[in-house]
Amino acid sequence: MLELMQQIVNGLSLGAIYALIALGYTMIYGIIKLINFAHGDVMMVGAYIGFFSVSLLGTNIMVAMIFAMIACALLGVIIEKVAYKPLRRATRIAALITAIGVSLFLEYTTIFLLTPQQRIFPQGAFPVHDYNFLGLSVSNKDIFIFISAIVLMIILQFIVKNTKTGKAMRAVSEDKDAAVLMGINVDNTISMTFALGSALAAAAGVMIGVYYNTINPLMGILPGLKAFVAAVLGGIGIIPGAMVGGFILGILETLVSGYGNSLYRDAVAFGVLILILLIKPTGIFGKNTGEKV
């Protein structure tokens, strides 16, 4: 029982990170129906910016995270404007290939500039303490990640629910034409979505840096894919879906490693995803919208 609790605690931080990345995936998907395969790599760039902020500028981790978020928000907007906007009217698969291209570009430009070697997040940036609650070991790192992820999600929720921009984002993702009739500038709104989504990814990147201590240029591929799975699991395009999907995936993976065979972890994650899709083809929170004939 204690072990199960411990496993779930382990899964929570992982899930929080997945959820943060999945949120960006899902927001971007919601607004331009693009699977932004470069999203995981934006996270990687965020991790690097956080790393340099801590190691070169000597900032603390919060400041590093803020730097990373701002820089990646900008990066997201640039990516959208340069690579995706020209393809707004092209087929979605063309946009998908472009996303793959952007993903490779980010990975290998980073390798080119910073070598493929992993970098080590300075230990001093985040002194780790372990706490014991009734036999559960929880580190301040876990708590930090979990709480900052939750705070970011709350902020996001606030932006999306209560600010003008957030409302415009929802309006555009629901009905572009009607949104235009309200006088909403669709292009700017899409840029804003990329900025927000990328900022969240950057935060997740810094968290991964703190969590695992090391970062490398290819670190975005796997979490990116997992976050995509999480987003689809929850119902892609749906914000609460991404959060729930992220946590489910994180905990599921931990439980498979803990109680089954960790080598089958990815297979189980995908298996569960496929199963859910077969039962509910639009994900857990997805609405079944039949095609209008």
Binding site: T98, G101, T109, V232, I236, A267, L277
Partner: protein, 322 residues
């Protein structure tokens, strides 16, 4: 009578042309004009052509976004290797079994997942591809993650040539038949297609199975040329590579798929010498082509002299700005 004549006439021209190409390349190989490096590049090219043309059947002609092609390739490779290397069966048995194994995998995966649409289908097929890989990684009989080493090198130019020709022949014949039109109608408008009496599910599965069959073929040829196979070789990035070829060539254009496969293979070979920037260049080329030619090099058209002229003069409708 006249139609028969032209049909046979065309057939003979085709056979002669193929025979000439085959002999010529074979001569280049035996005469040493093609060195080993050229031969390896040629092999990769042929395998990529088979992969791209077969994925194009699923993604281009049927309009179903599949991201699990590498998984089928893996099934073909492993099944054939078990037969040829571990059981000592002849290559032809390995080929047939590899293709059928992959086709079976295509069927098993296709029947449940093809109910899904668009991105959901994409992630489900990607998931299945990864599941295949993980399972292979955990089977010690086939070496687990280390894979199988020392596979007999049975893939010759003859087999490669046969593979490419048979793949193109079968898929083109399929597409240019009533069955093929039914398959394309699924892409064009699934509901209209159903209402016209096309059992769209069956045809989606058919395309998926045929596509998987040839991906398996490519896997067999790959395994028996490159000496070693590992589950890691067949991860989702490999599926992306094939997808890139299909989209670059133009969804729904077999000639486009062939051209793109050749292009990507040559590009890869050339870029080996530029380790620092190779992937950056590759990425930029991808992005630029998609921005300036989102429908791919060929759109959904097939290459003919006429079309070439039209593309160049800009009269190709798809070039117009809307």
């Amino acid at each position: 009578m006249k139609m028969l004549e032209t049909r046979w006439g065309k057939f003979i021209i085709e056979v002669v042309a193929l025979a000439v190409i085959f002999t010529l390349v074979q001569y280049f190989i035996t005469a040493g004009i093609f060195n080993q490096y050229h031969q390896i590049t040629l092999t990769s090219m042929c395998i990529n052509i088979i992969l791209a043309v077969s994925l194009n059947l699923i993604n281009g002609f049927t309009g179903q976004l599949s991201l699990g092609h590498a998984g089928f390739m893996a099934v073909g490779a492993y099944v054939s290797v078990v037969l040829t290397k571990f059981m000592g069966m002849p290559f032809i048995v390995g080929i047939i079994a590899g293709c059928l194994g992959a086709a079976l995998a295509g069927f098993v995966i296709g029947v449940p997942t093809l109910r899904l649409k668009g991105d959901y289908l994409a992630i489900a097929t990607l998931g299945f591809g990864e599941i295949i890989r993980v399972i292979l990684q955990n089977i010690d009989y086939v070496g687990g993650p280390a894979g199988v080493v020392g596979i007999p090198k049975l893939t010759s130019w003859g087999w490669l040539f046969a593979g490419v020709v048979v793949t193109i022949f079968v898929i083109q014949n399929l597409i240019n038949s009533s069955y093929g039109r039914a398959i394309i109608s699924v892409r064009e408008d699934e509901i209209a297609s159903e209402v016209m009496g096309v059992n769209t599910t069956n045809y989606k599965v058919l395309a998926f199975v045929v596509g998987a069959f040839f991906a398996g073929f490519a896997g067999v040829l790959y395994a028996h040329y490159f000496y070693i196979i590992k589950p890691e070789t067949f991860n989702f990035l490999k599926s992306f590579d094939v997808l890139v070829m299909v989209v670059l060539g133009g969804l729904g254009s077999t000639t486009g798929a062939v051209i793109a496969a050749v292009f990507v293979t040559l590009l890869t070979a050339v870029l080996q010498a530029f380790p620092a920037v190779r992937m950056i260049i590759y990425a930029l080329i991808l992005i630029l082509i998609m921005i300036y030619r989102p429908q791919g090099l060929m759109g959904n058209k097939e290459l003919s002299v006429k079309i070439l002229g039209r593309i160049w003069s800009g009269k190709d409708g798809s070039f117009e700005d809307k």
